[in-house]
């Protein structure tokens, strides 16, 4: 099975159990790689479906203060994509059960070489990538390499994306399509846009792949509200905040919180 198929199947499996799949985001190396490893196992035990694992970049221009700070903590370890792939390969050697997609800005991948990255990602067992600063018009070289290696090339759409463009983006997105809930950057929010459910329904009508909603989603109530309107829900900054506060003691707390989110994702 390809990486893209694994991601899609993990989401569909949750949907078959009448719930939205939960996709937690964490930044690798925050605060260190051992903690990241423990956190990833905690996510699996808590019932998450797919993991979005951040590769830190010096200039994260789509991220709010929480993930910016996580990035800074992670960069102190001076990580490389080689290290990242080695880490992922290590997890799968220990039979880690969830598909992992990397979330990272374009420059490190470009510098590594897209062809080489796609090849080595597949060898490591990584299932795909989300590259927030690589819109449709610039994505062709990456889409080609990802397709060749069966990796999920998760594309993003936003509230500002016109309907016709949304359809074109949905056609090339594999694994899932990432719907950005707000016009803005990542980070927990008290309120989500009023028409979000409606927009998600429209998005799902045209998307051939499952639709995940992310940005700003931080609480079980929000997950509960969105669960009927999306195949998957991404929660990031809320988890990163726990890691920030608890450091190496975070896995236990993260596990409890993600369990709550997973139960909130049930479509009652």
């Amino acid at each position: 099975m390809t990486g893209a198929e694994k991601v899609r199947q993990a989401i569909e499996e949750a949907n078959r159990k009448a719930r939205a799949a939960l996709i937690p985001y964490l930044c690798a190396w925050d605060p260190d790689l051992e903690t990241t490893r423990a956190l990833l196992w905690a996510l699996a035990e808590a019932g998450a479906s797919v993991v979005e694992l951040g590769f830190p970049f010096s200039d994260p221009l789509a991220d709010g203060p929480t993930i910016q700070a996580a990035t800074q903590r992670a960069l102190r370890h001076q990580p490389s994509l080689e290290d990242f792939l080695e880490f992922v390969a290590g997890l799968y050697a220990e039979d880690y059960p969830l598909p992992i997609v990397v979330m990272g800005y374009y420059n490190p991948f470009f510098r590594f070489g897209l062809k080489r990255f796609a090849r080595e990602a597949r060898e490591a067992g990584l299932c795909g990538a989300i590259i927030p600063d690589l819109p449709l018009e610039e994505a062709r070289p990456w889409l080609r390499e990802a397709r060749r290696r069966g990796l999920a090339s998760v594309m993003l759409v936003a509230p500002t994306t016109p309907a016709e463009r949304l359809e074109r983006i949905a056609q090339v997105s594999t694994g899932f399509l990432y719907y950005v809930s707000v016009t803005g950057i990542t980070g927990a929010r008290d309120r989500l846009p009023e028409d979000l459910a409606l927009r998600l329904d429209l998005c799902r009508e045209v998307s051939p792949v499952p639709v995940a909603v992310g940005f700003g989603i931080a609480r079980p109530e929000q997950v509960k509200m969105l669960a009927p309107h999306a195949e998957a829900i991404v929660v990031g900054s809320a988890l990163v905040k726990i890691v920030e506060a608890e450091g190496s003691r975070a896995p236990e707390k993260v596990k409890r919180f993600v369990k709550d989110l997973v139960s909130a994702a049930e479509r009652s």
């Binding site: 970049f57 200039d59 789509a62 510098r111 600063d133 449709l136 610039e138 500002t160 016109p162 463009r165």
Partner: protein
């Protein structure tokens, strides 16, 4: 004509931004292409440039500087330092803020490093009665406290950016984050020929008034084109502005001067084109100062306006195709030129512009008799006087 439809100059440029901004960039491009042909808009901009900013600026024959360099060269200074707010930045901010007003945007945001672009944006926003927010690295707000006060006097709100290296590149990140969040109401005035398409094109077009004037002036003064045009390059807007109208004149040698800071081996420089490598930052594919794994490195120069780890994509293209040459001079060389121009011509140049002068000083002996050289004097040095005094008295600038 470059850029092409995708906003590419060869392999450089493009639009590497979050999806949220893609429709806004398309809207901006559409509005700009329409207004560029609109005679009312062109007249309005020309009027403000003339009556408010002080265009055209003189092309001044620097006779005493020529003498000091051996007397065999015909050196001209394009006096952008004489413009309102003290540098070429106003050419661009007037253009973009007028564009914003035409597009019905009431809120202006900008990034600034040393504060010159922030001041020029705040000035244009005050002139046209628009709200203005300027992002500035927290370190820069301390180093350039007077410019913070200046922007506040002009009615702008200055927001210190605490993330990353707390300098210009982080201020750009934060301005982009603001724009992503407030894209419906807000116009982002970028200060150099950088960022996602169409910004490098728009800023180049607004700045190319420098080169159009200089070309006309030199033809009138000398009856022929110059042999060489020299300009400093940080992001590269003054250089692109003076180069662009000469690009098709193959006989004119175009030279961009980057900041070698404390030396190219020191890791304390801003010589992006000279020693950087291609990559993606701030929405564009261009040359960058980056490490092995693609993290962006900090830049350094005694000239705060050159302190940027990227460069305009059209410069990257002009370098690759060999149409322009890019070189670097260090802090010490720039300081010597700063003093030389002050003493010989009574013109205190901005430290940025002093880099262009410094390169001329460096190569003067090798140039044949009667070589005509145009140096873009992009800004005046009032802003740098205190820093230079501190530096010369042994403190770090």
């Amino acid at each position: 004509m470059l850029p092409n439809k995708q906003g590419k100059f060869g392999p450089f440029g493009g639009r590497f931004v979050p999806e949220t901004l893609m429709p806004a960039l398309a809207e901006l491009e559409e509005a700009y292409r329409r207004l560029k042909r609109d005679s009312g808009f062109r007249r309005e901009l020309a009027w403000y440039l003339r009556e408010y900013a002080g265009r055209p600026t003189p092309l001044y024959p620097a006779r005493r500087l020529s003498e000091a360099l051996g007397g065999h060269l015909r050196i001209y200074l394009k006096r952008e330092d004489l413009l309102h707010t003290g540098a070429h930045k106003i050419n661009n901010t007037l253009g973009q803020v007028l564009l914003a007003r035409r597009m019905g945007k009431r809120r202006i945001i900008a990034e600034t490093g040393a504060g010159q672009h922030g001041v020029a944006t705040a000035t244009a926003a005050a002139l046209l009665g628009l709200e203005c927010v300027v992002y500035m690295g927290a370190k820069d707000t301390v180093r350039q406290a007077m410019n913070v006060f200046r922007m506040e006097l002009l009615g702008a709100k200055v927001i210190p950016v605490e993330s990353g290296t707390q300098t210009l590149k982080d201020a750009i990140n934060e301005a982009i984050r603001d724009w992503v969040t407030n894209v419906e109401t807000t116009f982002y005035v970028i200060g150099s020929v950088v960022g996602p398409h169409p910004y490098p094109m728009i800023v180049r077009d607004f700045q190319s008034v420098i080169g159009r004037e200089a070309r006309r002036q030199i033809l009138k003064l000398e009856g022929r084109l110059p042999d060489m045009v020299i300009a400093c390059v940080g992001g590269g807007s003054n250089a692109m502005g003076i180069f662009y109208p000469f690009v098709r004149d193959q006989v004119v040698k175009l030279v961009g001067v980057e900041a070698a800071g404390q030396g190219l081996e020191s890791d304390r420089h801003s010589a992006t084109l000279t020693v950087g490598e291609p990559g993606v930052l701030h929405g564009m594919m261009t040359y960058l100062l980056q490490d092995r794994v693609g993290q962006i490195k900090g830049a350094h120069s005694i000239a705060p306006g050159l302190d940027y780890p990227g460069v305009g994509p059209e410069h990257a293209f002009l370098k690759e195709c060999g149409r322009a040459e890019y070189v670097a001079v260090d802090d010490e060389e720039a300081l010597s030129a700063f003093r030389l121009l002050s003493e010989t011509e009574g013109i205190i140049p901005a430290l940025e512009s002093a880099h262009a002068v410094a390169y001329l000083v460096k190569i003067a002996d090798r140039l044949p008799r009667d070589t005509i050289v145009v140096v873009n004097l992009s800004g005046r040095g009032d802003k740098d006087v205190a820093a230079v005094r501190d530096y010369l008295s042994g403190k770090t600038a």
